[in-house]
Amino acid sequence: MKLLENGKRLDGRALDEIRDVKIETGVLKRAAGSAYLEWGNNKVLAGVYYPREMHPKFMRDPTKAVLRCTYNMAPFSVDDRKRPGPDRRSQEISKILSEALSSVVLLEDYPDAGIDVSVEILQADAGTRCAGLTAAAVAIADAGIPMRDLVSSCAAGKIDGEIAVDLMKDEDNYGDSDVPLAILPRKKEVVLLQMDGKMTKEEFKKAYKLAFDGAMKVYEVQKAALLSSMDSVEGGE
């Protein structure tokens, strides 16, 4: 399958162009904070419950809150039905999302507490961990939990030998290599970095750069969503 034609990708994007990202905050009634995100054909819902007493008790930390992020794909979010419940992949992703978000939340402000972040992938089209993490960061901000910075995320990969940002499903299936990245957009530091495939040092550096720039674009969408939610609150919705 040919993934590049005249420098354009299957959906007409340039190599350094990310898909459309839309974010809406405050979409759930019960969660303390929530965000709905569309990123290309990805549809993601993130919700936050906090700060309550951590359960089970033996996981409590008297010096800070414990943030647990649960990443879950709905069975119908992919072409071939995924069995409900956590598989090994989603448990690994839950772990690295928990770590990335813990980098930025002021956990020391809530000793003994638990902060539960849910990421539900409702429709999946490659890049769901980046999309989920991006939504989760907005949901935490929407909940009013103090953060050092936001977390913004994007991936880059290799298609037909070229480095391209934000692969969609067909590119992911037929291409090779993927570098998911998440950063603190103001501090410019890395909180999530994975890679698989085959990349030379130079290819990796290019992918890293593209993913970084992609994440900065995503950051703008996050900011706009949070600002507009603040406006609507001030406007007395």
Partner: protein, 259 residues
């Protein structure tokens, strides 16, 4: 939160004795119902997002080629799963399905199965394989009355469902071959009993207060019933009244679902 539940329950019981509901609905009034079919249209064979007041439920339908049950050769298979996702409420826990979740899935399943909405005898693929229809009910925001919201979303998603193309003994993902035939539109309708009153479509707060509930799924016949959700009792009259309510409200909802 347990205590909060008790206190809210008390408050609700009192205002219901005065003939009112917290959200000013009449006792036989449903909350606002919105149905968006095809919500997961790029991936799922069928889907529907339902908002019933605050309650938000997403149902997706997946279809796969599988084996029939040994005692039903040539008959398609349907299976219904519910996931009370932790995002939906601070009370839910991750982990294996528990009794509430199992009851929810089974009651919704019975309404669809017993009405014959899915004509399993038309779902043979070849001598060995049949279609397996997976109904996955994903609860995203629990504002109460999950059985009705989930049941309405499930039949809406089934009405949205396309048959995957099947060629050379394999499914061609992303290509379709007509719609899944659906024979009728079962609608579950739940009444809560609080302070000797029957109320349609209870909110989560009203569920704290309720003595019991009775769910009745109807088409032109009754297809499923379930008393549950508490230690209260029902009188003969309660049952009769609930049956009447289920048929009349079911007809209204059915128009929305089919529309």
């Amino acid at each position: 939160m347990e205590l909060e539940g008790y206190l809210r329950g008390d408050y609700i019981r009192n205002i219901i004795k005065e003939g009112k509901r917290l959200d000013n609905r009449k006792f036989d009034e449903y909350r606002n119902l919105e149905i968006e079919k095809g919500y997961v249209g790029e991936k799922a064979c069928g889907s529907a997002f339902v908002k019933l007041g605050d309650t938000k439920v997403l149902v997706g339908i997946s279809m796969d080629a599988g084996e029939p049950y040994p005692d039903s050769p040539g008959q398609g298979v349907m299976t219904t799963s519910t996931e009370l996702r932790p995002i939906a409420s601070p009370y839910f826990e991750s982990g294996p399905p528990r009794q509430n979740s199992i009851e929810l899935a089974r009651v919704i399943d019975r309404g669809i199965r017993e009405s014959g909405a899915i004509p399993t005898d038309k779902l043979a693929i070849n001598d060995e394989k049949v279609w397996v229809v997976y109904i996955d009910i994903h609860i995203l925001d629990n504002g109460g009355n999950l059985i009705d919201a989930g049941g309405i979303a499930a039949i809406s998603a089934l009405l949205d469902t396309r048959m995957p193309k099947f060629e050379d003994d394999t499914i061609i993902r992303g290509e379709w071959d007509g719609k899944l035939p659906i024979e009728c539109t079962p609608i579950p309708c739940t009444v809560a009993k609080i302070s000797d009153q029957l109320l349609l479509d209870p909110t989560q707060d009203e569920e704290y207060a309720m003595d019991t509930r009775l769910t009745i799924a109807t088409t032109d016949t009754i297809n499923a019933m379930q008393k549950g959700g508490g230690f209260g009792t029902l009188t003969d009259k309660d049952v009769d009244d609930a049956v009447e309510l289920a048929f009349s409200k079911g007809n209204e909802i059915r128009k929305l679902v089919e529309g």
